[in-house]
C-alpha cells in the first residue's frame, strides 16, 4: 500500500465521523500514517455528514481528500454528491437500503444493506457504522483485522463491546458475500 483516500458520507447520527476516526486509529496501530478530517458547519447541517481518511505508509502532506479511492455512501444525497468525486477506477460502497438510485460510476460498485444488517442481524441500528467498517475492510484490507478490532473496542462504550464485535463480523461476512458474487 502507498496511499489510500477514503470518504465516508451519509447523515449525521450514522456514526461516520467515529468510523473515520476508528479507521485512522487502526491504520496507526498498523504502524502507518493517517489523517482524518470531517465536515463542519453548513456542510454538516441539514443532516449531512462526511468523514475523510487518508492512510499511507509515507508522510501525508496535503490533508484533504480530492478524488477518493473509496467512497462509502449511506444516503441517496451523499451518493449523488460524492460518487462523482471518486476515482474512475475506485470503489463505491453504498447502503443498498438507503441508496435506491446508484448514479453512473465507472469503477467497482458494491451494494450492501448495511443498516438492515445492523438492525436485523446484529440487533441494533446504531452499529451500522461498525458494520460499514467491516464491509469496507473486507473489500479492501486497508488495515489489519486485529488493528481494526482493537481500534473499534477502544472507541466504543465498554458495555457494547460484544455488540460491536458482532457488527464488525457481520460486516466482514457481507463483504465476503458481495466479493463472491463478483467472482461468479
Amino acid at each position: 500500500m502507498k496511499k489510500l483516500e477514503l470518504r465516508l458520507s451519509g447523515f449525521g447520527g450514522q456514526g461516520l465521523i467515529t468510523a473515520g476516526i476508528i479507521l485512522a486509529e487502526a491504520a496507526i496501530l498498523d504502524g502507518n500514517n493517517a489523517v482524518q478530517s470531517q465536515s463542519y458547519g453548513p456542510e454538516a447541517r441539514g443532516g449531512a455528514s462526511k468523514a475523510e481518511v487518508i492512510i499511507s505508509n509515507e508522510e501525508i502532506d496535503y490533508p484533504k481528500v480530492g478524488e477518493a479511492d473509496l467512497c462509502l455512501a449511506m444516503s441517496q444525497q451523499a451518493c449523488d454528491k460524492y460518487a462523482a468525486q471518486t476515482r474512475p477506477n475506485g470503489i463505491l460502497v453504498v447502503d443498498s437500503g438507503l441508496v435506491k438510485n446508484i448514479p453512473e460510476f465507472p469503477g467497482r460498485i458494491y451494494a450492501v444493506p448495511i443498516t438492515e444488517i445492523a438492525t436485523s442481524e446484529v440487533g441494533r441500528g446504531i452499529v451500522a457504522n461498525i458494520v460499514a467498517l467491516g464491509v469496507i475492510n473486507g473489500i479492501t484490507n486497508i488495515v489489519t483485522k486485529e488493528s481494526l478490532e482493537t481500534a473499534v473496542l477502544d472507541r466504543v462504550p465498554p458495555k457494547t463491546k460484544d455488540l460491536n464485535k458482532k457488527a464488525l463480523k457481520a460486516g466482514y461476512q457481507a463483504a465476503q458475500k458481495v466479493l463472491q458474487r463478483e467472482g461468479e
Partner: protein, 385 residues
C-alpha cells in the same frame, strides 16, 4: 498527569494537541468564550485543568476572557485563551495592555474566514497582519504558525515559554485545517519538554523596581500577593511602574518592548527549508498551505520541475533570513496563502527585488491544493525563461 510520559502514536487534532501542549508547558489558567473553530481547545482545557488543580472559566465574551487571563497571570499562573476571527478582534485592546504592561500570556487564534462572521467553519489565513498590528500603537509581536498536529503541540509549549521568558503576549496562529484535522502524532515524553518559568525578583520589596529590566531587557516579575505591592498600569510608566505622563518615558519603554524581542529575534524567527537550495522556484507557504506546498514540491520534482519550499514557522518575527538564503539562487518565489496577499509583503521586503515574488491566493474557503501550486509554478517557469 494527562501528559503521556512516554512516546506513543495516537490520533489527535491540532486543537487537542494544543490542549496537551498547554498542560505540558504549565498553563494552569484558561479563560475563553466559545467560537468555531477554536472551541475544542476550551472544551479540552475545561476537562484537563481542574484535574491538576488548574482553573478554567468561561467568561461573558472575549474581552472579558483576555482580561481574566491577564489578571490570572498577574496572580502567578501561566495563562492562556483561545479564539478565532471575531473573538481575536475583540481581544486586541487587552492584548495591547499585556504587551505594554509585560504580562505573560498566550492567545491562540485558530484562523477562520473573515472579515466579520465570514465563513465560520472555513479555513483562511487572513489574520497574519492582525497578529502583528491588531492592537494600536507600536508594540512587539510574536506569532507562531503550526503546520501539523505535532507542531500544534510543540509551538503551544514554545508560545508559553516565550511569553514567560520575555514577559509578552504570544500568539499561536493556527488555521482551521490544522486545528480540526486529526493525524498520527507522537507527543514528546515529559522529560523531553523544556519548560520555561518567568523570573521572579530577588531583591526585597523596599528596593524593588517592577519595571527595571534585567540583562535580557526583561524585568523580573513577582505575583500579586508576594508582598511587593507593585502597580500595573496601561499608561506609559517608568521603572517604578507608575504613570509618568512623559513622552521621554514612552520612548524608553516602547523601544525596550521591541528591543527585548529583537534581541532574541535570531533564535525566535524560524523557518523550515525543504529542497530549497537547488530549487528554481521556491514556494513560500505557512500553516496548512505549507503541507500542500510540500506535496507540490515532491510531485513537481518527480515531473522534473525543481520546486522548493520555505515554510515560515514564525509569522512574527518574520524569518527574513530564510528568504534571504534562497533569494539569489531561486529564479522566482511564489507566496501561497489563503488571503489576498499578507505574508507576501514580508517576503518582498526580505527578497529586496533580487527575485520576482509572485502571489498565489485563494479566498474561496478551500485549502490551496498541490495542483494549484504546480500550475502556478509551470506558468511562472514559462515567464521567467
Amino acid at each position: 498527569m494527562p501528559v503521556p510520559t512516554e512516546r506513543k502514536a495516537q490520533l489527535l487534532s491540532g486543537n487537542e494537541a494544543c490542549v496537551q501542549g498547554a498542560i505540558a508547558a504549565g498553563v494552569r489558567f484558561f479563560a475563553g468564550y466559545p467560537i468555531t473553530p477554536s472551541t475544542e481547545i476550551a472544551e479540552g482545557l475545561a476537562v484537563e485543568l481542574p484535574k491538576i488543580g488548574g482553573k478554567f472559566i468561561q467568561m461573558e465574551d472575549e474581552i472579558a476572557s483576555m482580561g481574566a487571563v491577564i489578571g490570572a497571570s498577574l496572580a502567578g499562573l501561566k495563562s492562556m485563551t483561545a479564539t478565532s476571527g471575531p473573538g481575536f478582534s475583540l481581544k486586541q485592546e487587552n492584548i495591547g495592555f499585556a504587551a505594554l504592561t509585560e504580562i505573560p500570556c498566550v492567545i491562540v487564534n485558530v484562523q477562520r474566514y473573515g472579515p466579520s462572521t465570514g465563513l465560520p467553519t472555513s479555513p483562511a489565513q487572513g489574520d497574519i497582519m492582525q497578529a502583528r498590528w491588531g492592537t494600536h500603537g507600536d508594540h512587539p509581536a510574536i506569532a507562531l504558525m503550526p503546520a501539523s498536529v505535532r507542531e500544534a503541540f510543540d509551538l503551544t509549549v514554545q508560545a508559553v515559554n516565550l511569553s514567560e521568558e520575555l514577559r509578552t503576549p504570544v500568539i499561536l496562529l493556527m488555521d482551521e485545517v490544522v486545528g480540526h484535522m486529526r493525524e498520527r502524532v507522537e507527543l514528546p515524553a515529559t522529560d523531553e519538554i523544556t519548560v520555561v518559568n518567568r523570573v521572579k525578583p530577588t531583591e526585597d520589596p523596599e528596593h524593588f523596581l517592577p519595571y527595571k529590566p534585567g540583562p535580557n531587557l526583561v524585568p523580573p516579575m513577582p505575583a500579586f500577593g508576594d508582598g511587593y505591592r507593585f502597580h500595573v498600569t496601561g499608561l506609559v510608566h517608568n521603572e517604578t511602574g507608575f504613570p509618568s505622563g512623559k513622552g521621554k518615558d514612552g520612548n524608553i519603554l516602547v523601544r525596550r518592548l521591541l528591543a527585548k524581542i529583537e534581541q532574541r529575534q535570531p533564535s525566535i524567527a524560524q523557518a523550515e527549508l525543504y529542497q530549497a537550495d537547488d530549487a528554481d522556484i521556491v514556494i513560500v507557504a505557512a500553516g496548512s498551505v505549507a503541507r500542500s506546498a510540500r506535496a507540490a514540491v515532491k510531485e513537481a520534482r518527480a515531473q522534473g520541475l525543481k520546486l522548493g519550499l520555505v515554510r515560515p514557522i514564525t509569522a512574527w518575527p518574520f524569518p527574513a533570513e530564510a528568504i534571504n538564503s534562497v533569494a539569489t539562487t531561486a529564479k522566482a518565489m511564489i507566496v501561497a496563502e489563503m488571503n489576498l496577499g499578507q505574508m507576501i509583503i514580508e517576503v518582498e521586503r526580505a527578497a529586496c527585488g533580487r527575485v520576482p515574488v509572485i502571489g498565489l491566493n485563494r479566498i474561496d474557503a478551500e485549502l490551496i491544493t498541490p495542483q494549484d501550486i504546480i500550475a502556478r509554478a509551470q506558468e511562472v517557469t514559462k515567464n521567467v525563461r
